[in-house]
C-alpha cells in the first residue's frame, strides 16, 4: 500500500506539472508556432481570462460557463490587439517583442489602477480526497483532464477543420496560400485570437486556485516560455512532448527539493535542450522526417 501511495503521489505530481506546462504554453505555442510572433503579453491574456472568470462567477454564473466567458473575452481582446498593433509589425519580429511587452505593462498597470492591487477570488471547487494517507484535490484532476482535452481539441481543429487546414497552409507558405485565395490576414487575426483565447482559458481554469493580483500572469510565463523553447515551433509535435519531459524534471525536483529547485531544474533543462536541439523537439522530429 505504501508503494502504491508513493506511485500515485508521483503520478499526481507529474500530471499536475504536465497540466500546468501544457495549459501555460498552448496559447503561446499557437501564436509562436503558427505566426512566429513572440507574444510577451501572453501572461496578461491569462490574467484577463482569470479576472473575467472570477467576475462573472461572482455574478452567479456557474464556474464552467464563467471560464468559457474568460476565454472568449481574452480571445476578443487578442483579435483587437492583432488588428491594432501586431498586424503592422509582421515584417519586424523584434518590434513585436517590444510592442507586446508594452501591451503587457499597460495591461498590468491598467488593471492595478482600475481594479486595485487585489480582488477577492473564488474558492477551489470539488474539495479533496485522501489516498494512502495523503490528501489530493479533485480540481487538480479536472485541470489534468482539461490539458489533455485542449491538446486533443487543438489537434482535431488543425487537422480536421477547413480553417485548420488553411491556417497550416498559411503558416507553411504564406504567399502561396494567399495566391490560392486564402485571406491570410483573416487567418492571422483568428490564429492570434485563438492563442489569446487559449491563454484566457488557462487563466479561467487556474483562477480558482490562485490569488487574484494584476501580476498573476507572470506565474505562468516562465513555464510557458520554457515549454515553447524546448518544444520548438510545431504545436503538436513540440508542446506535448516538451511538457511531458519537463513535467518529469519539475515534478521530481519539486517533490524532493521543493518549488525553487523545480524551477531551477526547468531552466537547466532548457539550456541543455537548446545546446543539443537548437530548434527544439519538433525541429528535431521534422528534420528526421523530411
Amino acid at each position: 500500500m505504501e508503494i502504491l501511495g508513493a506511485v500515485f503521489a508521483a503520478v499526481y505530481q507529474f500530471g499536475d506539472a504536465f497540466a500546468f506546462l501544457v495549459l501555460s504554453a498552448c496559447g503561446l505555442a499557437v501564436i509562436f508556432g503558427m505566426m512566429g510572433v513572440i507574444n510577451l503579453a501572453h501572461g496578461e491574456f491569462i490574467m484577463c481570462g482569470a479576472y473575467v472568470t472570477v467576475m462573472t462567477n461572482r455574478l452567479g454564473v456557474p464556474l464552467p460557463v464563467a471560464i468559457l466567458a474568460g476565454a472568449l473575452v481574452a480571445g476578443a481582446v487578442g483579435v483587437l490587439v492583432e488588428r491594432l498593433v501586431i498586424r503592422h509589425l509582421y515584417s519586424r519580429p523584434l518590434d513585436t517583442i517590444v510592442a507586446t511587452w508594452g501591451i503587457s505593462l499597460i495591461a498590468t498597470q491598467g488593471t492595478l489602477i482600475v481594479l486595485g492591487s487585489t480582488m477577492p477570488g473564488v474558492g477551489t471547487p470539488f474539495g479533496s480526497f485522501e489516498f494512502a494517507g495523503l490528501s489530493y484535490s479533485y480540481y487538480r484532476i479536472v485541470l489534468m483532464l482539461s490539458a489533455v482535452a485542449v491538446l486533443a481539441i487543438l489537434y482535431l481543429f488543425f487537422t480536421r477543420t477547413r480553417f485548420g487546414v488553411l491556417a497550416r497552409a498559411t503558416i507553411q507558405v504564406p504567399s502561396m496560400a494567399e495566391a490560392l485565395g486564402v485571406d491570410t490576414r483573416f487567418i492571422y487575426a483568428m490564429t492570434f485570437g485563438l492563442g489569446a483565447a487559449l491563454a484566457g482559458l488557462t487563466g479561467g481554469l487556474y483562477a480558482p486556485t490562485m490569488t487574484m493580483v494584476p501580476t498573476m500572469g507572470t506565474t505562468f510565463i516562465m513555464e510557458a516560455f520554457v515549454t515553447v523553447v524546448v518544444g520548438g515551433a510545431d504545436v503538436f509535435l513540440g508542446t506535448a512532448p516538451a511538457a511531458a519531459v519537463l513535467a518529469v524534471v519539475k515534478a521530481t525536483l519539486t517533490s524532493w527539493y521543493g518549488q525553487l529547485f523545480g524551477q531551477i531544474g526547468l531552466l537547466i533543462a532548457v539550456i541543455i535542450v537548446i545546446r543539443v536541439l537548437p530548434r527544439g523537439i519538433s525541429g528535431f522530429i521534422l528534420r528526421e522526417r523530411a
Binding site: Q172, S175, A179, G181
Partner: protein, 237 residues
C-alpha cells in the same frame, strides 16, 4: 471569330524594394489562348507573374481581368475572381498531404465537389495514387503536377504557370505539356506561361511574348513558332 480579351495590362510597373523590374508591360491575352512569355534570365518574367497574381504590388499601370481593374486588389481577391497561380519552385505545402494541398486550392472558388477531384485525378493520376502522402516527399515532377492540380481543382479561367519545366526530367515535362493542352481543349482555360525550355514552348504555345529589360519587346505569332532559330535567338543569353 475573335475571342474576348480575358487579361490585359497597360504600362504595368512593379519591382522589389524601390528597384524597378517591370518598366511598363503591355500585353493582351484572349479567352482560351495558350501564351508563352519568353526571354533571357533576369528580364522580369517571374516578376510579371507575381505582379499579375498580386503577390507583388503594381507601382504603376493597369491590370484588367474580365473587364475589371484588379491592380489594387490583394492576391486572394484576384484568385477568387478566377486566376490560378503556379509559382516557380512550385511551393507545395510540404508538411501537408497531397489531398490537403488540393483542399487549400478549393479556396479559389470557395468549395469543390467530388467530381472536381475526379477531374483533377483523371488529368494527374499520380495525385490519386499519392493522395495521403506528404507533399514535401514527392519528386519534383510530382510536386509540379500537384501545384497545377491544386489550382485546377477550382476550375479557374486563367492559369499563370511560372517555368513549369524547371528541374523536371524531360519525359515528365512532355507529359505535363500534353496534359495542359488537353485541359485547355476540354475546359477552355486560358494559360499564360513563362518558359525557357524550347520543346515545351513549341509544344504548348500558340503565340509568344518576348521580354527584355522589363518590357515586352516582341510578339511571335503562331506561324513564326515553327522557326526554331527565331525563338532560340530570343532565349540566347
Amino acid at each position: 471569330m475573335r475571342r474576348e480579351v480575358l487579361l490585359s495590362t497597360a504600362g504595368l510597373r512593379a519591382g522589389y524594394g524601390g528597384k524597378p523590374i517591370l518598366q511598363g508591360v503591355d500585353l493582351e491575352v484572349r479567352e482560351g489562348e495558350i501564351v508563352a512569355v519568353i526571354g533571357r534570365n533576369g528580364v522580369g518574367k517571374s516578376t510579371l507573374m507575381r505582379a499579375l497574381i498580386g503577390l507583388l504590388p503594381a507601382t504603376g499601370g493597369a491590370i484588367v481581368f474580365k473587364g475589371e481593374s484588379v491592380e489594387a486588389l490583394p492576391a486572394h481577391k484576384r484568385a477568387t475572381l478566377g486566376i490560378g497561380y503556379v509559382p516557380q519552385g512550385r511551393d507545395v505545402f510540404p508538411r501537408m498531404s497531397v489531398e490537403e494541398n488540393l483542399k487549400v486550392g478549393e479556396s479559389i472558388r470557395g468549395s469543390a465537389t467530388a467530381a472536381d477531384y475526379e477531374r483533377v485525378f483523371a488529368s494527374f493520376p499520380i495525385l490519386k495514387e499519392r493522395r495521403a502522402q506528404r507533399a514535401g516527399t514527392l519528386s519534383g515532377g510530382q510536386q509540379q503536377q500537384l501545384a497545377i492540380g491544386r489550382v485546377m481543382i477550382s476550375s479557374p479561367q486563367l492559369v499563370l504557370l511560372d517555368e513549369p519545366s524547371e528541374g523536371i526530367q524531360p519525359s515528365i515535362v512532355q507529359d505535363i505539356a500534353r496534359t495542359m493542352m488537353e485541359i485547355n481543349r476540354s475546359t477552355g482555360v486560358t494559360i499564360v506561361f513563362v518558359e525557357q525550355n524550347l520543346d515545351m514552348i513549341r509544344t504548348m504555345a500558340q503565340r509568344c511574348y518576348v521580354m527584355d529589360k522589363g518590357r515586352i519587346v516582341a510578339a511571335i505569332d503562331a506561324h513564326e513558332l515553327d522557326n526554331r532559330e527565331a525563338i532560340r535567338r530570343y532565349l540566347a543569353v
